[in-house]
Symmetry: D4
Subunit: 206 residues, 8 copies
């Protein structure tokens, strides 16, 4: 046996934090095409909903230039805790946010947000320090350009954050297709055009 | 006055040809991310519908590996002429297709399809030869990679094809926001995430 | 002698059209980094001012999501014609705009704007058709991504538009450093960091 | 009718010229990955064989550093004219080569080779001047890097050369899948891994 | 002496796991050109065969959209354990698969598959946890795009997975050209076009 | 609780070192566009000033080809320690520099400079060894190209340097917008054109 | 016969113009790596010397920030006309320069310089207008970035300038290896590292 | 004080290993332009000579397709140990090579070679295991493409190899310009065109 412990996403022990996916901030994301980024963000949200993970929404200054939360996200989680932070840049500096996290009782935190090196990395580092297992969904977290992204990733890697894609997150949570083939297939069909095409061809031929 | 004549898209004189957007073929497109390509193809289709342009669908070997037409396209145009070509690679070699084009009575043809250098370029060149004004929607036409794309564009440019984006197409057809602000706004909101964000911020602040 | 006529920018016969450089639209530009684009746009504006070229500003729906004109541009041209178009997408469809262009009495039009395939290309093609010599400043004209840019350029090239950079524009207008070494040097120093560095080193060593 | 004449590849009127695909020269190609380039070159060769097009091979200094012709090409065309040029850089300067071309009696020439701006562009321009219709297979023609490629393409475009991919060439020659579905399918299966995958899936599901 | 132990591939102690190289899944790989990816996958397979390493094949849902295993791989290993998983996404969750791995008696596992962050990373992390030395062949493992790839690599690096290319794998296993110059040369000649060219030139000149 | 300690920038315990941002050296930076790099360097400088962090300037051979310090930096810090090193390549080898650092009494060092693998990495590694917490501002540190950058980052990461962007630095220092909304907003408005656009739109609409 | 005339470089009718390859200006070139650009510029110069083409050197403000001509170029052409322009940006506006061009008695002009859209494009367009055949060596002509390069190429292409690489230029001038195998081989060996490697291997094996 | 020890290159304790820079192998390097790679390799060699570091040359199968060592390297080190390995792929498996390394008596090893993941990484890992401090010069070590490079770097980083550029190596060895301004300046002038330009401008102006 090695010293390495595979900290694996577990749907019974994971919560999702969606940080500052606001209309203004999303328009300063430059390391993804807008179509890719919108798709990935909604994919994480829909995966969280599909796996019934407790999900916490938070925003920064939504009355100002940052703009309101992307409406689709709010619609997916109408009853989730929603912390509109009055000023704290690091969501973890906001007591309501931390309380909401703790109230979930989960020890695995899945985080995505805008921008990566601030709204994602800061709470990720804070949560690691507090003993959480942190998984950052990299393709649903955007920043100005690839240079700032690479630096953000480096800092989080050094802290023990696990970097994932939303697809990897969904697969690791699901474990086995037989748990619900239809449901997972629908999630992929809606957010992976290439997989949707495979399904279309398959259904046509079978 | 110059010799140049600005051949401008005119909603009363334009038809749309969507060529071989099939599930198998779309998965060999390599010059766009799948999210971008799916979005652009549906944007062209929805623009055609919005402007009520006569639209012709055609497929190549849909019973074989190329797969069926992307279902969303079929759904947008349930009553449009649909020519499932039995073998002709250049749609213009299919009499039914050409008849459908001629039946529209339009002299401007807007073409998009997969793959660019074949399914798009071949009928585009044929149509130019027959005297049509041809506009290729480049961001809804995909091929293997950027090298094959560049060559396809070169050949079409030399023939007088006008290369456009779906956004340029929509704007040139619409002419004036006052013709229908809501409708055009909805089209952009649905297919341009960055523009949707602008609208979201605007609505929040106004 | 060849048939080719070098249509060269002439400060006594050129006007500048700045089209839709608005705060919302600039944030959907994806083919330049924000720093590069801001710099290039202000460079064109400052070059226009430096060469005392008649300059026309126009905006599209500035009360809506497109946002107001970038304030720095307005400040550089406080007395220039400013046409806030009520709905026409192609500025050339707006009578006031065309009148303002004609009132300049110039036959060379230098155009930059957002987005390239619409706000720039449409009036460029219209102006070419009317017999103007058109020069598009490519690095101060932005669009969604490089694919849409390439298509926009192709369409304009085919119409006889001359594609330039703001630096090429300034050099062709100035003709000879001796006309005003200080002034041109200042323009370059303010908008070309690498040239500014050359000047800094030169001044230190000489 | 327009002035444009769609000069379309015609299997009864086309010959193929494979120029300097030699082992040494191929290793200085930098605008394709080695796998892509090898595949594309063999695809052109196999397409030429499949369509039974008269094919002419030529090499430059094969006894020197340029190395021998890629053996696979020689094997595909064991009886084709093979002109080992004693020194002429432009194959068209070699009388035997031109005679071999003329002996085919074809007026459409399909050219691929290494390097693009020399071994391809030079005979392409010579042939255009002599009245041939010239089609360059861009993805089977390599050069040092993308800058030299772009310049080579520009020069050929200006001369009226039609730029194509090997896939476009095959499709334009074939015209209709019904002419031989098996044969064309095999060609694609062997040289388009993504299409091969489509066939594999199709055969498994049908 | 340092604390670092060079865990070096040893042909007497290594097994190969080829995970989910299926026709449908391969067509959603976007971080390699199809030619490159096909070549690399077959290179790993042929290297495994050449070095007579016990090799285990596994697939996910091969009756569905994912499609059947790429036939060439099956042909190379007609008698290898082949585990068609009924639903487990992580192959290591499948008892038959783990038993097959354990039955090899090897402690070094060489893994390649599609997609990298799931079908490769999940069993890689599981195997590391169980004390295996894990080597992932990065150029025979594909995923959606470079962003998802980078995240997948990061997670595996943090776990102690060694990232390699198929060429590095072959060289580290072979140790000394004199063990079999012909065999290794043939492997390289078949899967490294540039090396094949070197051999061609060498044979011509020597 | 985990073993990880989030070493977070603290405005009461941080000093800034700007190393060798000289006119000649800046012109050999190739991993950023000149506009981006100038903006980022001035952004770090203005952030340092805004947060009133003790800042130390140093140059290498400013009388020679490296050229003088970029004048804007000198102007921002007219009274800061300024160490013109007589020859030491690693600023940490210069006693005056180290003394200036120690005199700040801070234990967190924020470093940016040209070129990354020398002028930044050398003092960063020295400072880490001496027990400082080191934060390198990656987007204000330039080098020849991305390959040399990647290697420089790797070496610093291995030593425990935290890689950040200037935006991340500013946000981590500020902690809470309410500490001074105007000031932070102005910093962002001046150095993030996309954020400035958000503010412009916001002010217009509100 | 076609209308196209292959205007082919002829060593008896070609002159070379090297424009503003000055130490300061070369450091603002951003569309080539410094190694590539230096090599390409010296390759053009050495090719000009090798083919004994009349060569004219010119500089812009060499006493100022632009810096002196790259010394290696001056050394290659110690007796060539050298026009240090007192202020004209377009070299063709300088009477001495035009006189020097006319004195060569050649009608083909090969031009390279810095920056492409000004120092190269301006005289190229002027020369075309005067009836010269103009060939621009694109890989020895540099500018700020690829966007400004593409625009510069577009303008020159439209005017009938032929875009080439230095390698294409050398091959077209040489015509036949037998004219001087040693000389051309030496030129390639000195400026094409990959070709030098081919020669090294060849000499070792033969 | 931290636990980190800055292992700094020390000219009294460093040796250089140049591994398999052979004419054939260099032509399969694809992650650098040929000009860049040649320059970097010679820069490392000349730096090693300049600092009088014991240098060991080794080759793999130089009688076969790999070709002879690049002649310039051999010329720079006419009397250095030169181990033509009869078959060992990892140079560290060759007793003569290891003996030569040990005979230097140095504990810091600077390694560069072709290809990175084999000829560089294998001996680097072996040397780390034996307790050497290993510095790999990344820009003088080439491989097939960036994917294989990234994997090679990852494996070496994990082992504690320090990744550097040749420029960083030279600067760290030199420590202080005053040790020999002329010598270091000459090294930079010969291998950094941009720095050479700075010197040219400086000398002209001073």
């Amino acid at each position: 046996m090695s010293e390495f412990k595979y900290r694996r996403l577990d749907r019974s022990d994971a919560a999702v934090l969606l940080v500052d996916h606001q209309s203004g901030l999303c328009n300063i994301v430059g390391d993804f095409s807008p179509d890719d980024f919108k798709n990935n963000v909604l994919a994480v949200a829909n995966a969280a909903k599909y796996f019934k993970l407790p999900t916490i929404l938070t925003t920064s200054f939504e009355q100002g230039p940052n703009g309101p939360i992307v409406p689709e996200i709010k619609e997916i989680f109408p009853k989730s805790p929603y912390i509109a932070r009055p000023g704290q840049i690091n969501a973890w500096d906001n007591e309501d946010f931390v309380k909401a996290v703790k109230d979930t009782g989960k020890k695995q935190l899945i985080i995505a947000g805008v921008v990566t090196e601030v709204c994602v990395a800061f709470p990720a580092l804070s949560a690691i320090e507090e003993g959480y297992e942190v998984f950052v969904i990299t393709d649903a977290s955007g920043t100005f350009n690839k240079t700032t992204r690479d630096a953000a990733w480096s800092r989080m890697e050094a802290a023990g954050v696990q970097l994932m894609s939303w697809f990897g997150m969904a697969c690791e949570l699901h474990r086995d297709w037989r748990n619900d083939m239809e449901g997972l297939g629908a999630l992929f069909s809606n957010h992976l055009p290439a997989y949707r095409n495979l399904i279309t061809s398959f259904n046509a031929h079978k």
